[in-house]
Symmetry: C2
Subunit: 338 residues, 2 copies
DNA sequence: CTGTTAGCGCGTTCAA
DNA sequence: TTGAACGCGCTAACAG
């Protein structure tokens, strides 16, 4: 039924070990190697990775755990991870946690029992535990968000700095009452971006922003819509909105569009970019997250760990870029990469 | 180092076989089962799937091969596949073929040697061969596009019907000279959508459309931009454009926006939807593809095959829905699903 | 450089 | 119902 190295060995007139060596790039006399290759070809031999993995207790699979695979931000990140991984012979197992810590733990359990070579994880919450992986020695790298309390490598964007700068742009454009639509408190990036918004306003006005201007919802389009409606229904509604991610921004835009108060009537800073299409004509300002670079860095850090790198947990913060038609590109806390 | 069923067996005072039985839901006396469970818990035992897989020569992994993981259409499809798979205890290995047949074959080789339980594939070309999988008995289901010459299940959308209907909408809106921006000839959907466009025009005018109105480019935003520029540079430029997928549509919109001739000045039918945001206010007409349902169906068909279903290759064609603010939703060749 | 041998951890016979 | 023993296909030792 299944062609094994024994079949190939028999046909090529060598030992199974030699066949194994040929397929693992270990020195073998050229003529024997050729005989093996030919026998394998004729028999349609394909090495069985499960046997290999069991024997070496290794694996060439990286588990990528993201909260929302339908979000272009994570999609781009995943693509970058896949490119780096593939170049080194690794495959990517995709795990969509749906921002759900329970589901996340289930996936972690699967990953650990697989066992995968490593895990790249966007934690669904600030209380995510990576113990399951740690105790089995499976390396983990966090990306986009930290997992406080777990000593693992992390690579994130400068969310606070970016949010401060983004909010300032709105202030400099003349908007005076800036609402903030952010994600759930459980999520670090939601927290950091709201913090940046608050600090920028404190710095500009000398006082804490009106708490009713801050809305916390799930990171969804519907959430963005709802929050915007609530902000607009305020006795004293905002004249601009800082939206903390791309899906929230989309919801905000939909409602502003319905009401006929798109930018520049109402100011909008879309943190984390927007799904393609038509930004400039709308006068929307955008804070770009380095999704691809986050993915690349995370993958490289993980591969280093898989290769055995033994240094204390590293924490990398990547800069954020703001685009504003009026002012061109602004770089916040770092360099633009090619 | 690694906790095995032998360790658990020793601690629980039973045989390894009994431990195995407990973890596979095979009848064991309740007290022994409990002892095993407790011992496993205390030792932090996690079953080794590689050993299990080698022994049973099975796997709980589905390979999902898509041409562009950054395209929301495939992302939604992937999400649907993952949901169905997960519910049945399967994980998804993500393979981004990048519309590249060579890369596709490489991935197929990896998938087959893994070996995965099955493959869901969006063929990168009409000449894609699935022989590698077929000869090893790994079930394959094609989704979105067929793989002619390979006897496998497929579930696709009604591209020709949808393109005919979509083009007709433009004609009915009064546009007279309709350009078509489609993908490479190697791709079935690009071909079918161009065919639909051609037929609708033939039906309406009684003659074949001017060949210079058809542009074939890669399925990218840049491709859409380039094609649009070329169409607009024609001696007699079109007054409307049929764009064959979401990325092409995005490119078309960018150029129309630059030139200040957005809809309704220039008509636009965006086949396959657009990335979120702001459709209605722009007067863009949209043909929606049932991405989620395609993914769900494909996953279910594959799981049936994995379970051993032995019937001739099935071919399912899903209807397509057109939205037009003027006329509401139209259903092409099928039913809207809840 | 090559062949022989011995497991990796598990599921599954077969007897008991 | 349970335990002992075998082997899934492969690679890592070792001896030659």
């Amino acid at each position: 039924m299944m062609v094994t190295i024994y079949d190939v060995a028999a046909k090529a007139g060598v030992s199974p070990a030699t066949v194994s060596r040929v397929f693992n790039g270990i020195k073998v006399t050229p003529e024997r190697a050729e005989a093996v290759r030919q026998a394998a070809e004729e028999l349609g031999f394909v090495p069985n990775r499960n046997a290999r993995r069991l024997r070496t207790s290794s694996s060439e699979i990286i588990a990528m755990m993201v909260p929302d695979i339908e979000n272009p931000f994570f999609t781009v990140m995943t693509r970058a991870v896949e490119d780096v991984a593939r170049a080194q012979g690794y495959s990517v197992m995709l795990c969509n946690t749906d921002e759900d810590p329970t589901r996340e733990q289930e996936y972690l359990r699967v990953a650990v029992s697989d066992p995968v070579a490593g895990v790249i994880m966007v934690p669904s919450s600030r209380t995510t535990s990576l113990q399951l992986a740690q105790e089995r020695g499976v390396p983990v790298v966090c990306v986009d968000r930290h997992a406080p309390g777990n000593a693992v490598d992390a690579v994130v964007a400068d969310n606070i700095g970016g949010a401060i700068a983004g909010t300032k742009i709105l202030l400099e454009s003349g908007y005076r009452r800036i609402g903030c639509v952010s994600g759930p408190e459980r999520v670090e990036t939601a927290e950091d971006r709201a913090t940046g918004w608050r600090r920028a306003i404190e710095e500009a006005t000398g006082s804490t922003p009106d708490p009713s201007l801050l809305k916390r919802v799930e990171f969804t389009i519907a959430g963005g819509e709802q929050a915007t409606r609530e902000l607009l229904a305020l006795p004293e509604p905002p004249d601009a909105i800082f939206a903390a991610n791309n899906k929230l921004s989309t919801g905000v835009i939909r409602v502003l569009s319905e009401r006929g108060i798109l930018p520049p009537t109402t100011g909008l800073m879309a943190f984390g970019g927007l799904p393609l299409v038509l930004l400039a004509p709308l006068g929307i300002k955008v804070t770009h997250l380095p999704a691809r670079e986050l993915g690349r860095r995370a993958a490289n850090m993980l591969l280093e760990r898989i290769a055995g790198l033994d240094v204390p947990a590293r924490d990398i913060v990547l800069p954020v870029v703001i685009s504003d038609e009026a002012e061109g590109l602004m770089l916040i806390d770092g360099h633009v990469e090619a």
